[in-house]
Each structure stands twice: as C-alpha cells, then as structure tokens.
Amino acid sequence: MRVAVVVFPGTNCELDVAHALTSLGGEAELVWHRETDLSGFDGAVLPGGFAHGDYLRTGAIARFSPVMSEVGRMAAEGRPVLGICNGFQVLCESGLLPGALIANRDLAFICRFVDLEVVDTGTILTGAAEPGQRIRIPLNSYEGNWVDPSRTGRIAVRYVDNPNGSQGSAAAVSNREGNVVGIMPHPERGSDELLGSADGLVLLEGFLRSLVPA
C-alpha cells in the first residue's frame, strides 16, 4: 500500500506525516508538486505547511500545481485523499471538499493541543475510531475557521470547545462519499507519547486501513 505524501513549495509537515505512516507499517513516499503521474499510489496525503507561501489565499495557488489533477483523479476514483491543515485548505480551494477556511474567529494563530470528538466513523480518516471517541492532538493554524454556505460538508470530527469558530465545530470534514477528508489539527504531531500524545494514530490507522490496491 503506497501513499503519496505531496510536497508543495512551503509544505513543512511532510516528514512528520511520512514518519507517522511508516511507524504504522504504511509505505509513504514524498512526491514533488510538479509530478503528473500518481498511478501506482493507493492514496494521497496533502500535509501541512504554507504551500506557495499561502499567497492570494491559503491553497489558492497550490490547487493549480500539476500534481493536483492526479489528486483529483484519485479522489474521483474513490481513493483515499487526506489533507491536513494547509492540505485541508488546498482541498477546499480545489473544490474536492465543500466550503473554505477563513481566519480564526479571534484572529489569533492557535498553536496548542485541542480536544476532539469523532462524530462520523464512515470516512477514510475515522474508520478505526469509535463513535464519540475523544482525541487530543495539536492544532496549529491561523486560517482554521471552516465555513460552508452550501451546508453539504460531512463533519467527521468536531472540536469539543470550538477554538476557531468553525461552522458546526468542524475539525475534520469529508466529502459525501467519505473518501476525501480534510482535518485542521495534526494527527501526525500526536503520533507518539514522546510528543505528548499518541491519539492521532487511530486516525492515521484508519487512513491506512482504507487503502485498497491501485
């Protein structure tokens, strides 16, 4: 099971994601954003960072990176596509997830552990978790406030104390099919007790379990 971990100019969480997936027995390979062929990969992760400097809007330039047409193809084929933090923003800009991410309600960059609750276990991120399971992992973002005027987003994980004003307290959102998910907090930064939490592993485990051979 090979996972493409997409690297845009300005991405900075790719090694953490690859390490966490590898520690769970997954096979993760870094893929530069100019790649035009992801055949042979069973799923993709768009990690956190500041793709293309977050210029214009977060994710606005990244969605036109060459690799994104392949990410779109994988999503349309039903393959697992996960965006974390900035990756979530890229997926919204791409139209692969509904809504958009705007500045946090209190205009503060939030960098701390947050408590989450799994509300929908039918997605590629939450399949290994129990409904109602509590998870504590770091949030690290300024534009983490998800808005969805279309009200079509499927909330997979919610904040217990909505720190950024997200609609429906959404921390992770899925497309209708459940195979494309964006999560604002960082499961990979809560993937080892050395980091203060290993709660994120159940999410990454769910992602790996959802992979089927390409």
Partner: protein, 80 residues
C-alpha cells in the same frame, strides 16, 4: 491597459479582521462606525486595447483563481 479588481467577501461570511478593526475604532472614540469590512484590491496591467476583451479576460481570471466563489464576489474596472 490598467485594470483594478476589487474582491469582496460576501456579507454572510464573517470578517473577523473587519470586526476587530471596528471594535478598535470604537475604543478610540470613533463610535459612529456601524459597519466595516476589509476587502482586497488587485491592480493589473494587461496587454490589449479593447476594454471589453480585457475586462472579459480579467473576469475569467477572477472566476479561475483570483476570487474564491465560496466566499467572495468581485468587480473588474478597466481604467484604460
């Protein structure tokens, strides 16, 4: 041709920056501000001499990338 694009956030979408600035103005004694929104202006110079065609091209840019249709509206003004 010189073109100005104004990108405005839809009224129903919260503007935390605008709210914060409005509150700060009120704290400074400017209590008469009833609404404040922070928007984005982009200035372009585009090849071409037909204002209509230039406007159409820049509007296409807005729909494609400059504005996010989920959040924003845009107006394009060709200054000549």
């Amino acid at each position: 041709m010189k073109v100005t694009v104004e990108i405005t956030r839809r009224p129903e979408i919260a503007d935390p920056q605008g709210t914060t600035i409005q509150r700060a103005l009120s704290d400074l004694g400017h209590t008469g501000v009833v609404s404040l929104r922070v928007d984005r202006v982009i200035h372009l110079e585009v090849n071409g001499d037909d204002p209509e065609r230039v406007k159409e091209e820049v509007e296409a840019m807005c729909r494609q990338v400059l504005a996010n249709p989920v959040l924003e509206d845009f107006t394009v003004e060709v200054l000549g």
